[in-house]
Symmetry: C2
Subunit: 133 residues, 2 copies
């Protein structure tokens, strides 16, 4: 259970902390705006940190939203096999941790016999709150 955060560089730490505190996915330029007071001035500084954080599995990119959330799996072992639930009304995003689903998809092989070590799955619907309205 060793935290990887210790290895993060200055910019990476600043940006990870911001994303980690956010209750919702954050967009790159919103991140930029929020860290300008900490000396990060340029988009590229943000994108470089984001790239690295994605690479090491501390955050994930929600592809359909061009936004980033902190990984919810404390051990961060599934950074290449990701699944999310996205509310189409309030845009709330939750990372899905489901061993059966992960196993099913990791073992999935298509009609050519090919299988995959990496995938990204995004489910869409209405969250409980929004369903009531």
């Amino acid at each position: 259970m060793v935290e990887k955060q210790l290895n993060l560089s200055k910019n990476q730490k600043i940006i990870f902390d911001l994303i980690d505190k956010s209750p919702e996915p954050m967009k790159a330029y919103s991140i930029l705006f929020n860290v300008q007071k900490k000396g990060i001035k340029a988009p590229l500084q943000v994108y470089r940190a984001l790239d690295k954080l994605v690479e090491i599995g501390k955050i994930h990119k929600i592809e359909s939203r061009n936004a980033f959330i902190a990984c919810q799996n404390s051990s961060c072992q599934i950074s290449k096999t990701t699944a999310f639930s996205i509310c189409e009304s309030c845009e709330k995003v939750t990372e899905i941790k489901d061993n059966k689903l992960a196993k099913y998809l990791t073992n999935f092989s298509d009609n050519t016999g090919m299988n995959y070590k990496k995938y990204n799955l995004e489910f869409f619907g209405l969250c409980k709150k929004c369903k009531r309205k």
Copy 2:
């Protein structure tokens, strides 16, 4: 087996035909470049047609690539439940048609009991050709 294409408007038809002929996913500005000779001059004209074509299931957006491919299911009934195989080397994209997979995901319910009518799944790996190299 009635083709929906009959209902397409002029711009939609031009753009669908182009994407449908392409062996690989096409990006919006590449589409724009290719249809300028047919009188479509502005990005918005492309994006509007793309939006509509996605909406009616004639094409799909590959979210991780910001690119579009024609639907491979002749009946186009699964436009809201999509799965793709993406080669990380040559970028070849194939739509996965697998009833078991579709059923599994459509019936999937997360730990809150919520389930979903819509999803997008993108698998990543190396295609047969690229694996040999």
